[in-house]
Amino acid sequence: MKENENMAWYTFKKGITSENPTYVQALGMCPTLAVTTAAINGLGMGLAVTVVLTLSNIIVSLIRKAVPKDIRIPIFITVIATFVTMIDLLMHAYTYDLWKSLGIFIPLIVVNCIILGRAEAFASKNPVHYAALDGLGMGIGFTLSLFLLGSIREILGNGSWMGIHLWNFKMFMFILPPGAFITLGFLAAFFNYLKIKKEEAAKAKAKAAKQAQAQKA
């Protein structure tokens, strides 16, 4: 039971940290670079992806035994596209303002490779509850990444955050496409640096423990 819980927690957590879709797996770059001109856009896109990813992971996992291997990709795409269209229609009908501001991002979700990637690599091989946790974790990881990227670009490029005016110093480049690549590059480098530091620390610790053991003997 304990092990199961750990496994579930790991399945959820890995999408946010060690297998973060944006900074580690470098998946879904097109929407990442295109929509993160402001913090709120990043947040909206991230949440829309989270919902679609979780739902499609659940369905893909449920039907995984009834999907012939040769045609799994078209079937996954059908499932994903169905959810996206459904959400597009429902949001248009009942949350008009949100739909208006997210309108252009929603159709983009179909071709977001995170969703197909997780369906193929995880959901089609694992039981439903793990698939759901994986989708939720990856979605939240994606949301946080986009929110961070969007926040930095909005603060540097427009002098505001979440639409709140901060100062008049603006570097337009950060709102334009080059700013997206530069910010993403620096963030990916930073997270890689943290990862390497952590690994080095773990190695040093293991080495110290070994030495201590050798000395004891």
């Binding site: 012939p68 045609i71 059908t78 269209t85 009942y94 008009y96 208006k100």
Partner: protein
């Protein structure tokens, strides 16, 4: 061969289920979507029919609603103004209030990434037409933080109240107004460069769509009148 057939049938079954689910959702949200679109249009119309000086609605709210409800299907008319290809999206709406005639039109002209869609109200009073105010309906293809700022009220208000002399000369943004001796609204010049720094293309699209709507109004709507 047998495998291919089997795969085809399986794929078809999945597609059928997906189509059935989508069909169900489509039918059950159809009316709600129509209502949502209508109420968005209603809000925009209320905005352009609000006097920009006094802040009062010029036309009865109920009348606007009635006109909208009975307006029928949308129709797009392609139109060119001085080399710019734009559109007028019909139907247009006409209101008669205290001897004034108010026309509400929707037009579009290309911006930075796609069409910028604008609703505008023109008032005809004592034989003269002037542009009352505008509301940008869609600028979702413009650069966020730059061109997309046109969705804010400040830049849109700059286009309020352009007299006929300005409309006849053609509306331009101040950056394109090198040939105009006096840069004011009577000469068709709208100042946007201070409020939308770094973005000229989007307000230019708004100016173009106003010109397209005005030329349509003059030729197709008021063509027979004197």
């Amino acid at each position: 061969m047998k495998d291919i057939l089997k795969n085809g049938v399986v794929l078809m079954l999945y597609a059928m289920v997906a189509a059935a689910v989508l069909g169900f959702v489509y039918v059950s949200t159809k009316d709600a979507i129509k209502n949502a679109d209508l109420s968005a249009k209603f809000q925009a119309m209320k905005a352009v029919l609000t006097d920009y000086e006094t802040g009062k609605l010029m036309v009865d709210e109920k009348l606007i609603k009635d006109k909208l409800m009975n307006s029928g299907e949308e129709k797009v008319v392609e139109r060119t103004y001085e080399g710019v290809n734009g559109k007028v999206i019909l139907p247009y709406y006409e209101f008669n209030v205290n001897g004034k005639k108010i026309f509400v039109l929707v037009g579009a002209a290309p911006g930075f990434g796609g069409d910028v869609k604008v609703m505008a109200s023109f008032v005809k009073e004592n034989g003269k037409i002037f542009l009352h105010s505008i509301r940008v309906l869609d600028a979702s293809q413009e650069t966020p933080g730059l061109g997309a700022k046109i969705m804010e009220e400040g830049p849109q208000k700059r286009f309020s109240g352009i007299p006929q002399s300005g409309l006849e000369k053609g509306v331009v943004v101040d950056k394109d107004a090198k040939d105009r001796s006096v840069k004011n609204k009577s000469n068709g010049v709208v100042k946007t460069s201070d409020i939308m720094t770094g973005a000229t293309i989007t307000p230019r699209a708004v100016a173009n769509s106003i010109n397209i709507m005005y030329s349509y109004l003059k030729e197709a709507v008021l063509g027979g009148e004197k």
